[in-house]
């Protein structure tokens, strides 16, 4: 792992974390995508080797390690699938709730809480 890769992964993670804290859900999804790419970059960076491709190497040649490359490819595929799922979820949420801002979603949660109030009031009445 050299400095360039470490800085790149750190910058990606920082941008992703910043986006994650936004109000708009699409930016939150973008933040999660950046964070998963930061993990993939760390994976590649921690397995850097120099050498020929390991298809049919000569006996005394350095061969680059294929395992981190396979791990990174799998991580990318999984990241694609989860990003697709998250986008579909945010799309559905936007359609159903007609808003993409999550403080308004929280307001709807608060409405549900207030509907529980009569039950709690009954509990308090019975206790006294």
């Amino acid at each position: 792992m050299n400095l360039a890769f470490a800085t790149g992964a750190a910058v990606l993670f920082g941008c992703g974390a910043y986006l994650l804290l936004h109000r708009d859900l699409f930016r939150v999804v973008g933040g999660i995508a950046l964070i998963s790419q930061a993990a993939t970059l760390t994976l590649i960076a921690s397995g850097l080797t120099r050498g020929r491709a390991p298809i049919s190497p000569e006996p005394n040649e350095p061969v680059s390690d294929p395992v981190p490359q396979a791990l990174a490819l799998t991580a990318l595929v999984i990241g694609l699938a989860t990003l697709a799922l998250l986008l579909a979820l945010v799309h559905r949420l936007t359609v159903v709730l007609r808003t993409a801002r999550h403080d308004e979603l929280a307001a709807q949660e608060a409405q549900h809480e207030s509907r529980l109030e009569p039950d709690r009031q009954r509990d308090r009445d019975e206790a006294t």
Binding site: R23, D24, I55, L87, T94, V95, R98, T99, R101
Partner: protein, 164 residues
């Protein structure tokens, strides 16, 4: 689409053929060089994405009729992968064994060996194209929703904006 994006439509139609050729070449050379079924599937899906973005979902499916069968394509691909992987169970071998054994004679077309991992890669290709087409089809429906949502520009000011 309210305005036809003529350049994008023409480019989409022109790029379709080459993207399929690139995908096939990725699968064919994937055993001696960089490439595999997943990369091929993503390249084809990029070509399809251009169709969806430039023409819209309904026009894209008119232009490429096989897109209507994308869910079936996806499931066929997955079953092909699983079948290729698990069929050695019938002969008592461990799963995911290659059919012409490592070291045995194998039929070749040029430098491409015809063995069971090739079927696995084809299944993977079909699976990726199918999944990404289904996704593009679902998200392309967003167009109709956006018009009657009339979402105002999102205000991300830390102190909280107001809806106009």
């Amino acid at each position: 689409m309210s305005r036809p994006y003529v350049v994008a439509q023409v480019v989409a139609r022109l790029l379709w053929g080459p993207s399929v050729v690139v995908a096939i070449s990725l699968i064919v050379k994937g055993y001696t060089d960089v490439g595999d079924g997943f990369a091929a599937g993503v390249v084809v899906a990029l070509g399809l994405a251009l169709f969806y973005v430039a023409l819209g979902a309904s026009a894209a499916e008119l232009a490429l009729p096989f897109l209507r069968y994308a869910p079936r394509l996806m499931i066929t691909g997955l079953l092909l992968c699983l079948g290729t992987g698990f069929f050695p169970l019938l002969s008592g071998e461990p799963i995911f064994s290659h059919l012409p054994e490592p070291g045995a004679h194998v039929a070749t077309v040029g430098s491409l060996e015809l063995f069971t991992p090739l079927l696995f890669d084809l299944g993977l290709f079909l699976l990726v194209v199918g999944v990404l087409t289904v996704l593009l089809h679902q998200l392309a429906g967003l167009k109709g929703v956006a018009e009657d949502l009339a979402v105002p520009p999102v205000d991300d000011a830390p102190t909280g904006g107001r809806r106009p």
